[in-house]
Symmetry: C2
Subunit: 227 residues, 2 copies
């Protein structure tokens, strides 16, 4: 089945990483793929655009089925190949409700509180040029958010929703990985820290680790010691 699949992806993109972890977990290692360069604007290339008029990655095909948007790819894989690989969305009602909630919570909160409003701002602006009140407020918002996830992990143990790796982890881990790459210090969030360290060696995550991160250290270290 993997031989009928094709993924356009970019290295270091949270949505791409998410889709790639799901592909590995569902047992589709070896799918065809093309690594596009964000620097060269290759997501706006003709090959991507004809499948995804938005010109974004991940862009994915499975035979003649086109699915874009990372969340859609993850849910498509799980619902189409329910019995293959890791079951990422549990059958039990209560557990499924929790997994769905954490998936949605991760997207709704981490994308902004962590990435768009915080880390990206540090990439654009020197810390000394930031308004100190804005900086303090945003730092507190992110701290509160990370404390919440740290507590979730304190209650559930090994993974985000219990003893099994689920789609909630697929959605959550890349945010943390990206944060750490950009200098997020996890020392104040011990449960997230040990989760991050443990999951870093999980086969699906190891296999999909953004390749350029392995070659060069992160160039942004804005948050060291700040949390």
């Amino acid at each position: 089945m993997a031989e009928n699949m094709f993924l356009y992806w970019g290295s270091g993109s949270v949505p791409c990483w998410k889709a790639m972890i799901a592909l590995e977990e569902k047992g589709f290692s070896g799918y065809k793929n093309k690594l596009i360069s964000f620097d060269n604007n290759e997501m706006k290339g003709e090959d991507v655009l004809k499948l995804n008029p938005r010109g974004e990655v991940p862009t994915f095909t499975d035979g003649d089925v086109v699915v874009n948007e990372s969340g859609a790819i993850c849910e498509y894989l799980e619902s189409t190949y329910k019995d293959k690989g890791t079951q990422l969305i549990p059958s039990g009602t209560k557990q499924r409700a929790l997994v769905l909630q954490r998936m949605n919570e991760a997207v709704a909160n981490l994308m902004h509180k962590m990435l768009l409003d915080y880390l990206y701002e540090f990439m654009e602006t020197k810390e000394e040029d930031m308004n100190p009140d804005t900086l303090a407020r945003k730092t507190q918002t992110l701290k509160d958010e990370l404390n919440r996830w740290n507590d979730y992990l304190g209650q559930t143990g090994a993974y985000l929703t219990g003893p099994d790796f689920t789609m909630a982890d697929v959605y959550f881990f890349p945010f943390i990985g990206f944060g750490v790459r950009l200098g997020l210090n996890l020392n104040s969030f011990p449960n997230i820290k040990s989760y991050y360290e443990r999951l870093s060696s999980r086969p699906s995550i190891k296999a999909t680790w953004p390749p350029h991160w392995k070659e060069s250290p992160g160039s942004f270290k804005p948050l060291t010691g700040k949390m």
Copy 2:
């Protein structure tokens, strides 16, 4: 089954409306509920907080299952009660892929390009006080986005992904409804306009129309004639 369900909701909230349309479509009219007041900060009341520590609505329970986050509630209802009411996520692979993609596209794009970066800004700032370049850029971004959805509807006809009402419509319609309430003029987007008018009288949507919108006209008319 509806008698075991309880929803905390606020009038005029896009996420609440989404969950409520799904509840109606799945045949759960008559579920217990509490309308909270945003003005009085009731989403931070003890009853909500004990179910949803974020203090947000929609907050939902089905017996002893708690599910928060509008997307999670929608998917929980569909996966738990697959054979009840409207089938909102199709079984066919290709059609399901499209529905999942449009659901994710709506959340990823409309929440920001339409609501947070555009309409909310008009609620806070007088048009004459806005930077004209920023205003022009944001207007163009929203126009491009709406043209995209207008084209989707041009291809599919009655609903967002084809002849049947699906979860894609549940996710999309409240954004348009909210936009119109805030003054969005749909004349340049004729497919969205006729879709909006047609769906406004669909039972699930009529039954869940934000009650305070029926009592008073929208007080913001920022976009009249602008698109």
